[in-house]
Amino acid sequence: MKRLIGLSVCLLMLFHAQAALGSGLTADEIIKRRDHNEYVTTAKAESEMLIVNVNRKMTKTMVSYADEDNALVIFTNPRDRGTKFLKRDDDLWMFFPDAEEMIKISGHMLNQGMMGSDFSYQDIMESDKLTDLYDFKLLGEEELDGRPCYVLEGIAAQGKEVSYLRRKSWVDKEKFIGWKEELYARSGRLLKVMETKRIEQIGERWYPMEAVMEDKLRKNTRTEFIIKSIEFDPEIPAGTFTLENLR
């Protein structure tokens, strides 16, 4: 049970939960149904990130590869063309295309917005299962834009280092996809809200293909994330997640 790492992963990571309610499903069963949809062992994705601040926009495009523990993200838009990030376990490396040099990124940078977006490096490249990081409970059921959803709350598990202490999730009761996620600070303050805008059925699974993250501490800003294409369980060449391949 592994979760896609890479920019597509942020979609996956933000929609975990566990709980039980009147439908008869337990929290574990809800999570398993979600995992069946959103959790992948290996993947290759082409994605686009649109950063919006009032009337200014910036688009970043990327290709990402991921397996159980590792991720490689290669930016392809003109401004960042050739910039690469490699995550191996808890280590993050960056390749600077002009100098053609690789630098190990300090751990505290993992909580920074990646390339100026609302998604942190941690959001993007975190490979732990959310169920390993949070304890979830069911809050109830709600309709979200006409879709019946389970509403779940996750609290950071004791001793776990997470970006957000608490998260609240709206999970589709029929398709078992997360439609909305609220992310809270340790103080209880709402930091970010992420909403899925489009899902797609790929094979037997439903998968979130477009999402919007809003930073609630800033006005009129958001980051849109769009998966242009995604391939599940592709054959990833040996040596993909190495410094040799990063250069």
């Binding site: 200014r56 630098i103 940078m109 303050r189 800033r218 190495t242 410094l243």
Partner: protein
Amino acid sequence: MDKLLILALVLGLALSPPVQALEIGGQAALLWSGSLQDNDFDSELTESLDLEIFFPRVNNLELRYGFLLTRPLQGLLADKEGSYFAKKLYLKHRSKLFHLTVGRQPVSWSFGSLINPVDFTLGAETLDTEQQSKYTDAVEVYIPVNWNSSLALVLSFPDGFIDEPDRMKWGIRGRTGMGGYDVTLNYVHEAGDAYPLIPRQRLGLALKGDVGSLGVYGAFGLYFDQDVDSSRSYLAGVDYSYNLDYDAKITMQLEYLGIEPDSMEASMRTGLLKMDSSDDRLDLLIGRITYPIDYFASLSLVTMVSLDDGSVIVGPIYQNTLPGNIDLNVGATAFLGRDGALFAPDPLRAIVSIDLSYPF
């Protein structure tokens, strides 16, 4: 006529649509800079075009070509002297055992410090900025050992590809991960006449990792040669992020650099480094702090302090990505210190610059 041909070629390449996997990208920039020397202020306007052609990789072969044109328009229109500098023109062969790179290429042994005293090419460098001295005619063999360990051998030709051992520079760098730290050990042998005032050989050790929520790094350099005293350099640095209201993160970097110039000639000690005979080490404290104003703008302050005489270089920098994807950089550098101090405003007092650039 040559200039017209070059410009036509460049514009033609830049404006033509990509064909198959061939791509062209780069950056057009306009820089206004001014300097205050004594009481005279001089300024100039410079345009530049930085282009790189991305050729498709063919099997294990990769061709890279990138160059910088300075003042191409003024060269054509105002008869001012422009320049062409090939930053990259190399062929790389990749195999499972090694990578071989031949031609003009960047050789950078950076590891995240503001100043790297044990780089292949010495000189202050902030990450992600360009230094033409990093681009050199060279042959590099890169041998991967495991996912984060490697050996790199570089033979460079500072005067171009000339078959004279005394005009060649060479170095070897080993890199590995140890206990979560990135560790590198390197040796460099300078060309005969490259730096006549400093030793031709040096050993360097650098490491970078984390201690709790602090990023930490350090380096040690040993400089030596025949018939001169050896000298050392010491670098220790930390970087840290401070979360302002969960939203804006201030990033800070502070490092100490100590240089013993024992082996340098007296003229360099007293002239360039402004040291007297009692000084046995140059002590510098370098810092950078960056505040993100929003997604597109940031404010930074870079300072360098001479701990020996209290003189200071102060450099505020404002960066903003304007509508239309144009980058604006406004920077200033001021020199502060008493007469005779390392960073004394003598005669250069301050530099200001405004840079507009457009990546494409």
